[in-house]
């Protein structure tokens, strides 16, 4: 009953914030006088005119391009073989911040954009809407890291910080056996990413460092990939036709794994995503690209992604290489509706580590619990052999779908993903079928909806389900009873946006079976949490 009351209160709170945001939008004349549509009266929300839409896109552009893709240059690229990007390269934050009267300085050797396209540069006259790079500009890069033909030939430095305070219902001022801290009410630097990228005509190199304090102060390599590519597009939403990448990169499975943490409104990926792929990157080779609406990516990797809890993260304990692939499509209708989706597949071999040989020994068992060594309480333990390691097969198949719609309120994004897997959990309930002899079947899915509320806010909700073992048995009354281990997470959030800053509050209501009630039956553990995060782009 208390939980339901909390839902109602939260709903009221979201409504209050929405109304507040709408009112702020109506009262704040944020458009420059030269760009403001005449109809934008202070007390009347601006109609969705083309001018207003373009202005929002220009503002959103600051979010999208400074994060996961290098900012496109204000100048056309001096590449003789390929014409400069007509619009995508120029509609950048740098371009948007140019003085109104300043025309782009074209290199003498660079081809000039067509006159008709030059008019799309931000200037005193609002640019008409364009369908090019609509997602990247809006901050929803479904294919992050893509650079269009008008790339910056210099080093492009970008990055972002996510600092937060989080509160956990199950936090206690204690340590678990082994020393793990159980207090999780804390300030946390979740991500501090710095990224350097450089593009050439036929290639691209990216190095991204991550600093965080999740498990103490850590600085580590998040990505380091070098690519040779062909068929770079004019469109920031369109990947090259072929791109061969070697290094440490995000695994191309599903949608969440490659969706940029900075662009994602929710604090973390879904429970399912974090269980299957504890960290997004792995080391290997990837062939990816796309043409027209089609997208593809095939990766061969070590099969031990970053943050894997076995301790072999980014290493390779077995010679087998995991194959991860996604085939999908993405299309946009004008600049207001985008639909994308795909199917994914992962196949590999997990590693069950062996154990060392043990010498003979003597063990004391206090059978009568008197604290003294009595007759019959000393046992000899024979030497044991070293146990060899074994491999086991694991796989996953998944499907994902994303729909984006732009309205007068802002972008709406509805997306979801479904994954069936076997022995793939490497982050939550570690799957290892070697001892049990039976494969572990896993199922996960989520549905998420985010809604921009003008340019200043957003709200959303994610329903996330993960069953780490469909065949789990609980022991009660001497019987093994099939038991549900499913973890359901309800995650509403509200967010405020100001320029490159985001302030997001998310509440995670976790419904699991990790506790027991008075009858000894598995029940929900009180482990809800909330997080307040401030994110800023460098």
């Amino acid at each position: 009953m208390i939980v339901r009351a909390q839902y109602v209160l939260l709903f009221i709170a979201v409504l209050s914030c929405v109304s507040l945001a709408v009112r702020v939008r109506a009262q704040a004349p944020v458009l420059p006088p030269s760009a403001a549509p005449p109809s934008a009266a202070p007390d009347v929300p601006a109609p969705p005119t083309a001018a207003a839409a373009t202005d929002e896109a220009a503002t959103d552009l600051e979010i999208g391009t400074t994060s996961e893709q290098p900012a496109a240059p204000a100048l056309p690229s001096p590449v003789p073989a390929e014409p400069a990007a007509p619009t995508g390269a120029n509609e950048t934050p740098a371009a948007a911040e140019l003085p109104v009267a300043a025309p782009p300085e074209a290199s003498p050797t660079a081809p000039q954009p067509p006159a008709a396209e030059q008019s799309t540069l931000p200037a005193s006259t609002p640019a008409p809407a364009t369908s090019t790079a609509v997602l990247a500009k809006a901050g929803y890069p479904l294919t992050p890291g893509v650079t269009a033909t008008g790339y910056d030939s210099g080093f492009v430095l970008s990055g972002y910080l996510q600092a937060q305070y989080e509160w956990h219902q199950d936090s206690v001022d204690q340590q678990a056996q082994g020393g793990t801290l159980l207090n999780r009410d804390r300030f946390l630097l979740r991500r501090g990413r710095v990224r350097v990228a450089k593009d050439w005509d036929w290639g691209q190199a990216i190095v991204e460092l991550d600093g965080n304090t999740s498990r103490g102060p850590t600085v580590r390599l998040q990505k380091a990939e070098v690519s040779v590519l062909y068929g770079r597009s004019d469109d920031l939403d369109q990947p090259p036709i072929v791109q061969l990448t070697l290094g440490q990169f995000d695994l191309p499975f599903g949608f969440e794994t490659t969706y940029a943490s900075k662009a994602r409104w929710f604090m973390e990926r879904s429970q399912m995503g974090r269980a299957f792929f504890p960290g997004e990157p792995d080391v290997g080779a990837r062939l990816s690209g796309g043409t027209a609406v089609l997208r593809y990516a095939i990766a061969v990797t070590n099969g031990e992604p970053l943050d894997e809890r076995s301790g072999f993260g980014l290493q390779d304990p077995n010679s087998n290489k995991d194959i991860t692939a996604r085939f999908g499509a993405q299309t946009k209708f004008g600049d207001s509706f985008v639909i994308a989706g795909g199917v994914s597949w992962n196949q590999g071999k997990g590693y069950h580590p062996g154990t060392d040989a043990v010498k003979t020994g003597v063990a004391f068992r206090d059978l009568n619990e008197n604290g003294s060594v009595d007759n019959g309480e000393l046992f000899g333990t024979p030497a044991t052999q070293a146990v060899p390691a074994k491999n086991f097969t694991r796989w996953a198949v998944g499907a994902d779908l994303q729909c984006l719609l732009r309205t007068a309120l802002g972008w709406s994004m509805l997306y979801g993903e479904l994954v069936l897997a076997s022995n793939l959990d490497r982050g939550l309930v570690i799957a290892d079928p070697v001892l049990s002899g039976s494969d572990v079947r896993e199922l996960g899915y989520y549905v998420a909806f985010t809604q921009e509320i003008t340019r200043y806010g957003a709200a959303g909700f994610r329903y996330d389900v993960y069953d780490p073992n469909a065949d789990f048995l609980d022991k009660r009354g001497g019987k093994l009873i099939p038991n549900n281990q499913t973890v359901r997470t309800y995650s509403p959030f509200i967010g405020l946006t100001l320029s490159s800053l985001r302030l997001v509050f998310q509440w995670d209501i976790v419904d699991d079976h990790l506790a027991r009630d008075t009858r000894g039956v598995p029940s929900d553990l009180a482990n809800n949490q909330w997080t307040l995060r401030l994110q800023g782009a460098l």
């Binding site: 909390q6 209160l9 507040l20 204690q174 009568n368 619990e369 009660r476 001497g478 009630d517 009180a526």
Partner: protein
Amino acid sequence: MKHAPLVCTALLLAAVGCDRAAQIGVGQAFRVRDAQFIGGELPGEEPKDLPPPAAPDGGDGEDGPRITAFETFNLDVLQGQGAKAFRGRTSDSASSVAIALDGISTGYWVMPVGATDPATGEYTWEASTDFDTSIEPGRHALRVVAIDDGGRAGTQLELQVCVRGRVADNGSACSPSRVPPRAVISLSWDLNADLDLQVVGPGGLVFDAKRTPAPGDAGPEMAELPSLDRDSNAGCVVDGIRTENLIWSDDVPDGKYQLYVNLFDSCKQPAVRFRVAVYTPRERGTDAGELLAERYTRSGEVLDLAVNPTSSRGLFVGEYRF
């Protein structure tokens, strides 16, 4: 509308709340391994003087689910002892067993019943329990109750367990008829290092864990030598007790006793905090018998730089005159 931000914030905080359900019992002084902690009073009726009569068919009678057996190897528990086992049986309608240490637990621990006992046809249960060092020495009531599928609890049963202190008292905390030692010098410390208590008695006789004086060494005035109960964490073989007691069961020869603490091996600890205390008996209030009372304490810290694996004295802590 101008107060919308405040209203919004207040509603959010009210919605989310900051309540913590008591489901993590890590901080409890009495813990049960592989069991669920639930805050609140132990359910069921208070224990009766006599155990409820068993139904003829092994069922529940009128009192609901019942604990039909509650046993352990012995009723002695050392402060800080872990994995102390209690086991028993329940009637066939029980679904779980709840257990709590009366006056110590702020809730109770629940575990599902186990397999059926082939001899009686009743469910079995077993609790592996931990007793924290913060539990006062003396008798404590350990209570259990059976709970059925509907969440209905039966009548509680209890066992009186004796929690023995880390300072050897010959069981006098639990039994007034037991006579405590005449004196105990106790050293305790906080981390798993090999610390040794060294006491230099009258005539320069040294008592410590690494040597034991022969009776002849003590001279005629010290007829009976004290005994050291253990060498805790000796050679960095961690026992987790971190307490050593020098015990005089009979009278202590008068004189000055110098107290030293020696860090024999830091066991990779950068610093260790210790406490030395001297105990002698005092009369037990209204009851008969005696209890050990603390007469003198000193505390301090030794750094790993002070490691002294030789036979020389360690850090001088103080002097006590018996």
